[in-house]
């Protein structure tokens, strides 16, 4: 059975990256700050990372984001690609706690999910992305931090609200353990 789960991760990364790509490339709602979108792909990333764990989460973020950048016809903006991977890894680290596939998403788990999203996006966009931007591209510090704060806020909002609603709806489709009653 162990083998099966590793195959499943490979496929989940592939399909997840494709989803990330489609949502990020065609459904992006542009925002007033450059290079930054209100992006639904982070909701899907949160859901899939919570289901398949940190390795899958990181790879989905990395591959999906790199493909988006490539499709716009440039070399990937590596600092942001790495940040997407980081977000996937961090949310994925909480996968065991969330245990979405059990089909339960109560108040405690919602709290864990919100916390994991906040940690991932805040550290990712306010620390990792701007620092890499400054190191690689020598952009002005206040510009990259402004972008970072904006991205952190908008991605946390989409991640928590849309991602949370998705998990909630998804867990409702699964039959819960011990949900059968004897009559």
């Amino acid at each position: 059975m162990k083998n099966n789960s590793s195959i499943k991760t490979v496929v989940a990364v592939g399909i997840g990256a494709a989803l990330f790509f489609v949502l990020g490339r065609f459904v992006a709602i542009p925002s007033p700050v450059p290079n930054t979108n209100i992006s639904l792909q982070y909701a899907v990333l949160a859901l899939l990372a919570a289901m398949y764990g940190p390795v899958a989460g990181g790879l989905i973020g990395f591959i999906g984001h790199a493909l988006i950048d490539l499709s716009w016809g440039g070399s990937p903006w590596w600092s942001w690609v790495i940040t997407s991977a980081f977000v996937g890894v961090v949310i994925g680290l909480f996968a065991k706690k969330l245990n979405v596939q059990e089909g339960e998403f109560g108040k405690g788990k919602v709290a864990v999910f919100v916390v994991s999203n906040v940690i991932a996006h805040v550290i990712g966009w306010v620390v990792v992305a701007p620092v890499l931007d400054i190191l690689i591209y020598a952009e002005p510090a206040n510009k990259v931090f402004a972008q970072g704060v904006f991205a952190a806020v908008s991605n946390t909002v989409t991640g928590v609200i849309v991602g949370g609603l998705l998990i909630l709806a998804y867990t409702k489709t699964i039959a819960k353990k011990g949900s059968l009653d004897q009559e």
Binding site: V10, V13, G14, V22, L23, G73, A138, P140, V162
Partner: protein
């Protein structure tokens, strides 16, 4: 559909197309690495020349990739505008001098240093563009997974990428039909909807998409397990080709570029300062 404009492979009879996917991937990575290290204007111009020559060799016409070029130019313009708005003195900070060309208003002076810095940052991003376009349009997608594997990445990751590339058009089609079906039911995503209800409505479109995708994951992974995927540590690839002389030449050029860029950076500092 829109899928055609994305990651489209343009088949040509050229030297670049004849190179193995591994060479192109490695060259692309070496090239972006070289352009990332340096900020020296001369090195960047040299890199730009190399990437234009590579583009010429590939026999891909400019008008076939015009869309990407224009998008990149708009992106660079916006980025420069914001750099200037946020910090008009970044150039002065980097180069240490200040030659004011003209005063605009408040703290906004147009300085020669700032213009030079913005030229460099645009150049830095733009040099990689022809090579990136080549990499996308001259690499056969089915060869891509094989080349990832041969530069040392686990074949499972290579397979994930191959699956992603294979299913992007399918998922795009799914998204399109789901969103139209939901819009017919009155789920609105447009601007006249409040932001939060737009977010909530997007769940109505995302959920069916996710559920079909999860089914898809099950189907594909069962099919792969039936064929014994992941049993061995290594695998062979149908599309992998042996290296030829041209591949070694291209890789050699890539390595030389990185070395030059490194040496210049270590010896003369990261920035070329004409002031």
């Amino acid at each position: 559909m829109a899928a055609k404009t994305v990651l489209n492979y343009l088949d040509r009879d050229s030297v670049v197309h004849k190179m193995t996917g591994t060479t192109k991937l490695a060259f692309f990575l070496l090239f972006t690495f070289a352009s990332m290290i340096t900020y020296n204007t001369w090195v960047l111009l040299g890199l730009f020349a190399v990437s234009l020559v590579a583009f010429k060799l590939s026999k891909i016409k400019y008008r076939e990739v015009r869309f990407m070029m224009i998008f990149m130019l708009v992106f660079l313009l916006l980025n420069n505008l914001f750099i200037f708005l946020f910090d008009p003195n970044q150039g002065t900070n980097l180069y240490g001098t200040r030659h004011v060309l003209c005063h605009l208003f408040w703290r906004y002076d147009v300085t020669a240093e700032q213009l030079f810095y913005m030229l460099n940052i645009s150049l830095k991003y733009f040099v990689a563009l022809p090579v990136a376009i080549l990499f996308i349009s001259a690499t056969n997608p089915s060869e891509f997974a094989a080349s990832l594997n041969s530069i040392g990445i686990s074949y499972k990751v290579g397979y994930s990428v191959a699956i992603a590339l294979r299913y992007i058009p399918d998922i795009q089609r799914d998204y399109h039909s789901i969103s139209q079906a939901q819009q017919a039911r009155g789920v609105e995503l447009g601007k006249n909807e409040h932001f939060f209800s737009r977010l909530k409505n997007s769940v109505n479109i995302l959920l069916p998409l996710i559920l079909t995708s999860l089914n898809r994951i099950d189907t594909i992974s069962n099919a792969m397990e039936l064929r014994g995927f992941g049993k061995n540590k290594k695998r062979t690839w149908y599309t992998r080709r042996p290296f030829a002389v041209r591949d070694f030449v291209a890789l050699g050029i890539g390595v030389v570029l990185v070395v030059v860029s490194l040496i210049v950076t270590i010896k003369f500092g990261r920035f070329y300062n004409p002031f």
